[in-house]
């Protein structure tokens, strides 16, 4: 696959503050690539450098092999969807969408044609003559998207475009955006702080913090094999446990010795180790009852229910373990099991998980 974007040793400083710190990334053609991280991690600054609104302090940005970091935004073959949509209030929807084509002096007939196509793509054909202030939030979002896509850019940049929408609309738009991206085949670079959004839509995610990329990989990789505590904690609940390496493949946490197949040879006996287990991988059974959720092969330990949160789709249980640690377990209600009447605070339980689900964090 060719590289649509190559980011080499890119840094951006504002006075003493380093927003982007020596970042190296390769984004593939046709990829849905997300920049994920908390506020202030530098993801938006990085995006703005891709768009041309910031000049890097050092480093290079190569678009299709050409260095563009000093090219002004109106000359780059890149378009952006802004967080606030930035629609032109004095123009109607059609003129908004056709704005970029007009600047490029495309023929009027072709502009009309392409605008119509773009409107159909985002499902807004009926609102071509409306003004932005007559549209709903979701509709304005679509106009912003169409306005960018109609220019057939090499890369589309999206700056938290769904942030202003309510949950249901957001979920719907996530699906639509993904479908549109597949359809037009354009490389998307998507900035978000919502990890669920990134996980569900991306081909690859770059998790960022303090101006650096901590981990860049496919969603499953980032979720199941986070490279660092930060990634594990940022994406989902991590259930961190601190321990010391024991003989091969085991970690001592408190009084228990946990089997951790993921532990590689770089750890010598006695080295401190950080391990984590995802909440949905933790199984909880009533003590003294037959094993129901706990399967053979799982590592088990005794515990007590400290608190319980009813989520509708399931329960979130906070467990105090015999060896002193604390774990969060996410238990989904199924056709077999209705959880909400089963657990009581203070109840003694058995807690278990498969050793393969125990992640080692650096």
């Amino acid at each position: 696959m060719e590289q649509a974007i190559r980011i080499e040793n890119l840094s951006k400083k504002f006075g003493d503050f380093t927003a982007v710190n020596d970042i190296n990334l390769e984004i593939h053609q046709g990829e849905f690539f997300s920049l994920l991280g908390p506020s202030g991690c530098g993801k938006t600054t990085l995006l703005r450098m891709l768009a041309g609104f910031e000049i890097p302090t050092s480093g290079q940005i190569k678009l299709d092999g050409e260095p563009v970091e000093k090219v002004p935004p109106h000359k780059r073959n890149v378009n952006m969807v802004f967080q606030s949509y930035a629609l032109f209030e004095h123009l109607d929807v059609q003129d908004n969408i056709g704005f970029g084509l007009k600047r490029k002096k495309v023929a009027k007939g072709e502009i009309r044609q392409r605008v119509r196509e773009a409107l159909d793509l985002v499902d807004l054909g009926s609102r071509a003559d409306a003004r932005p202030n007559e549209l709903s939030g979701g509709q304005r979002q679509r106009v912003a998207l169409a306005r960018a896509l109609v220019n057939r850019p090499r890369v589309l940049l999206l700056d938290e475009p769904l942030g202003a929408l309510d949950l249901k609309l957001r979920r719907q738009m996530q699906v639509e955006l993904k479908a549109i991206q597949r359809e037009v085949g354009i490389t998307f670079v998507y900035v978000t702080h919502d990890q669920e959004e990134a996980l569900s839509m991306s081909d690859r995610i770059a998790v960022m913090s303090d101006g650096r990329v901590i981990q860049c990989a496919a969603p499953e990789e980032v979720y199941e094999h986070p490279s660092e505590e930060f990634v594990a904690g940022f994406i989902g609940i991590s259930n961190l446990l601190q321990g010391r390496a024991e003989s091969k493949g085991r970690v001592r946490v408190g009084d228990s010795s946990l089997p951790v197949p993921d532990l590689d040879d770089s750890y010598s006996d006695g080295d401190p180790v950080q391990i984590a287990v995802r909440p949905e991988k933790v199984a909880v059974d009533e003590i003294d009852k037959d094993a129901d959720r706990i399967r053979p092969g799982m590592f088990t330990v005794e515990g007590e229910i400290e608190s319980m949160v009813y989520l509708g789709v399931g329960n979130q249980l906070t467990l105090k373990l015999g060896n002193g640690g604390r774990l969060v377990a996410l238990e989904q209600a199924t056709y077999r099991v209705q959880s909400h009447d089963q657990w009581k605070v203070g109840q003694k339980v058995k807690v278990g998980w498969h050793p393969e689900h125990c992640m080692v964090l650096r």
Binding site: H74, N79, S84, F99, K104, A148
Partner: protein, 276 residues
């Protein structure tokens, strides 16, 4: 709220406020009412007539002064609006040390008492050997008005934000094109409002004009000053009423024009740059 006290029932406040409004309006009412007095008296109303308006209109010096005031205000409005708007845009967008200096410079006229502005204008014209005339008044008015325009427009710029310009650039517009095609359409109601405000300020101005006017073409307020010094005259009531109508119309337009052109924001909000 348990006890009814003077605090909750604002009767005292209401009465007091009413009295203050009375205090504010009585002189105005006197001016307006007596401008229609058929007799010369300023104490007794004796039937309605337009005679003082006629006196005013038939006096060539006074009539001239009215037109001069309007001309000065119009020229000031146009020039100050253009320069002030450009200044506002530049100050908000530029992030250089020079622009920060220019910002301070822009604020100085606003906090300078008019008498000081008048004297300094007088001095520089005298120093440059420029005789006082219609044009020195215009120059002085423009100098003082630029900052008002900048403040009003700057407020509106803050609500518009920079993202629409960035969006235009992202779509292929050069910096100048994005200002012309995207910023100006969003900005013009505030510009017009600022212009009309400047018109009203210039039309009513006295102190600055007093120091910079020549012998011949004097703006109306300066003429009024001369008239008052010689004694009380009913014609002044007519002039005052007329001027009030002009000024109120200008400001009313400033508030209404943004409304008329389909904007969501009220004119007051445009003038003060308040958030929606």
């Amino acid at each position: 709220m348990n006890t009814a006290s003077a605090f909750d029932k604002p009767r005292i406040l209401r009465v007091f406020t009413g009295l203050v409004y009375l205090f504010l309006f009585v002189p105005i009412a006197v001016v307006v009412v007596f401008s229609f007095n058929s007799q010369k008296s300023l104490q007794v109303m004796d039937g309605l007539s337009f005679r003082w308006y006629e006196e005013f209109w038939n006096d060539p010096t006074l009539r001239d002064s009215l037109f001069i005031s309007i001309e000065i205000a119009l020229i000031t409005m146009v020039v100050a609006t253009v320069i002030g708007t450009a200044l506002a845009i530049g100050l908000v967008r530029a992030h250089s040390g020079a622009s920060r200096g220019a910002n301070v410079l822009m604020l100085v006229p606003l906090i300078t008492p008019e008498i000081v502005a008048g004297i300094s204008a007088l001095l520089i014209f005298s120093q440059l050997g420029i005789g006082l005339s219609f044009w020195t008044v215009v120059l002085a008015h423009i100098t003082f008005s630029i900052s008002y325009v900048t403040i009003v427009v700057r407020g509106r710029l803050a609500s518009i934000g920079v993202e629409v310009e960035e969006a235009a650039q992202d779509l292929g517009a050069s910096r100048w094109q994005s200002v012309r095609l995207v910023l100006f359409p969003a900005l013009w109601p505030a510009v017009v409002a600022a212009g009309l405000l400047v018109f009203a300020l210039s039309f009513d101005d006295f102190v600055l004009s007093f120091f910079t006017t020549g012998e011949q073409s004097q703006p109306l307020p300066v003429r009024i000053w001369s008239m008052i010094r010689f004694g009380v005259s009913p014609t002044i009531n007519a002039i005052g009423t007329l001027m009030m109508v002009v000024s109120i119309s200008a400001v009313a337009l400033a508030v209404l024009i943004p409304r008329l052109f389909g904007r969501r924001e009220s004119g007051v909000k445009v003038l003060t740059g308040a958030e929606d």
